[in-house]
Symmetry: C2
Subunit: 339 residues, 2 copies
């Protein structure tokens, strides 16, 4: 969605910042008929039914988001759907229907397209959603896989980015930095045999949309604000703070980081904190919780784990990080590496 | 939508036919939860509200569907939205909301993006729809403009492709071959000064989605089946016949063809009938009407014109064309040129 208008690995349009471009587009599109539109994980539309409609779209572009050698087509298909499911999860919604728009070079084998669809249908089916339509265009250039997901949520249970309150605890599902660590290991041709199990590697290579977790938090009214971590904690926290008009403090010592991320970072001479904060592609949920709700939320999400990593502060506080020694740094959206 | 899975100017995937690929994908995606899914102009979804939801998506790819020099960005934006509005119109629906997914090379000027959005917002606004979200991805390659439109229609008024009945009259809105004639003139650098007015040229260069006309026919229950002409009459008629399980006969002498198309065809040594039948990009509606309803339908659509051009026949008849002399030819989906 436009909130992620220029993804972590995409460069700016002629030097423009992400928010600048969103704001320019928002000025052009004018006030929206959607309950929530440009700037959240999904648009929220009231069509007069029992639930409000959620709509989100995200494109995977060859050589920007994926390499043709990097994924089997079925895995790419799963991924292209999963990153959109993650956006529906971040609104507290249930995914319902998938549309697929492909741009394909004419020499792509038909079996590749079939396997891509197979992966997309499997990922959608895992969440009781299905592919209901789409389009295929020819392109002389990279493969583009654009996925649209329609979901729904009871109107009182929508969780926006903007609902955070000062004093709310910030929590994340799962653990951070796995995708970034694996990506770094592959880029540096690091031998992972002694560092990570095949199961951990397979998990780090996949997107696990937190659909059940987002839904539970929404249904129990435990989340004031929520978004999914696609760009990396540093960047996405900025989105939540900006939408909620607040600042935040993150405590590095409380970040959930797998042992394998520490090991890979050490082997590569990287900073594990950097991988966890600005690596991106975690697709975990970042949640603002009332402080009295944290225990209930952690209990409800015990199976994947929910970790309190900081708190929302008044805007004047800015966005800060307590490092390993408890020293406070300001945290730019580009993350730790750019301190 | 997938019904137009490989558009007129896009080649096949490694020698596969359009229907073959649709059928393969349909086998993979399985039975759909949508009331109508893959294979119609838009997917139809019942979310329990007063109207059913329509969803359609279509991508414009640089150097396949447009050249960067061919359109001002605002005109391209209008067009990208209009071709999707045409799909909503073909279902009898009202467009409501637009999502936009862009893939942009990093060196594209921000003003180009703004003007594109301006055009999209203007076209959507002309039909009381609005842009509610989207996404921008980076691409090292051609610009891709993917537009998703959500619309709605009362459940009893959805007009599918499959509703045609033997003996139904076939009618089209407006006139045919204008876009193809203009495209041919530009390709051959034909001087149009004496052949067509600036107004006709501007009109032929634009897409005029027949939203009002589709809606009127649906509301009055005058259309048994309907689709929009994007690939050209010959190809799209095949879609309607296939969906309805019928054949058809078109009478060349009844096709609405503007004088300008005749003039341009004559100047270029082309066949005007070919432009009208297989030129494509007309974005007029092709409608199957009960024979008793034709007069009412023509009256209701007097402002843009509705012309009866043939009738639906039993499947065994095949799809045929009566030429200028009344001689009957079989008509392949590739159109007149390939007789």
């Amino acid at each position: 969605m436009v909130a992620k208008i220029l993804p972590d690995r995409g460069g700016p349009i002629e030097g423009m910042g992400e928010f600048d471009l969103i704001d320019r587009i928002r000025r052009i599109t004018g006030p929206s008929s959607a309950l929530m539109g440009i700037g959240d994980d999904a648009a929220v539309i009231d069509l007069g039914g029992p639930e409000v409609l959620l709509a989100t779209v995200d494109m995977q572009v060859q050589n920007v988001h994926f390499g043709i050698e990097q994924y089997a087509p079925a895995d790419l298909g799963r991924r292209a759907v999963a990153v959109n499911l993650s956006d529906i999860a971040a609104m507290g919604g249930t995914p319902r229907h998938v549309l697929v728009s492909l741009a394909l070079p004419p020499d792509i084998p038909a079996t590749w397209v079939e396997e891509l669809y197979q992966g997309m249908a499997t990922e959608a089916g895992d969440w009781d959603a299905d592919i209901i339509g789409g389009n295929i265009s020819r392109i002389q250039g990279p493969i583009c896989v654009d996925v649209i997901i329609l979901g729904s949520v009871p109107p009182g249970e929508v969780v926006p980015r903007s609902g955070g309150r000062p004093g709310d605890l910030l929590a994340v599902t799962g653990s951070l930095g796995n995708a970034a660590a694996l990506r770094s290991a592959v880029e540096h041709a690091l031998d992972l045999d002694d560092l990570a199990s095949p199961e951990w590697i397979a998990s780090a290579a996949s997107v696990h949309p937190r659909v059940r977790e987002g839904r539970v938090l929404a249904r129990l009214h435990l989340a004031h604000a929520m978004l999914d971590l696609s760009d990396g904690l540093a960047g996405d926290l900025q989105h939540l703070c900006r939408a909620s008009g607040l600042g935040a403090e993150i405590d590095a010592r409380r970040l959930p980081i797998d042992d394998q991320v520490w090991s890979i970072a050490a082997a590569l001479g990287l900073d594990a904190l950097d991988l966890a904060i600005s690596g991106g592609e975690d697709y975990e949920l970042l949640i603002a919780l009332g402080s009295q709700d944290a225990e209930a939320a952690c209990e409800a999400l015990a199976s994947v784990g929910l970790h309190v990593i900081g708190r929302l502060e008044p805007a004047a506080h800015g966005i800060t990080l307590l490092d390993w020694t408890g020293r406070r740094h300001s945290m730019p959206p580009s993350g730790w590496t750019h301190f």
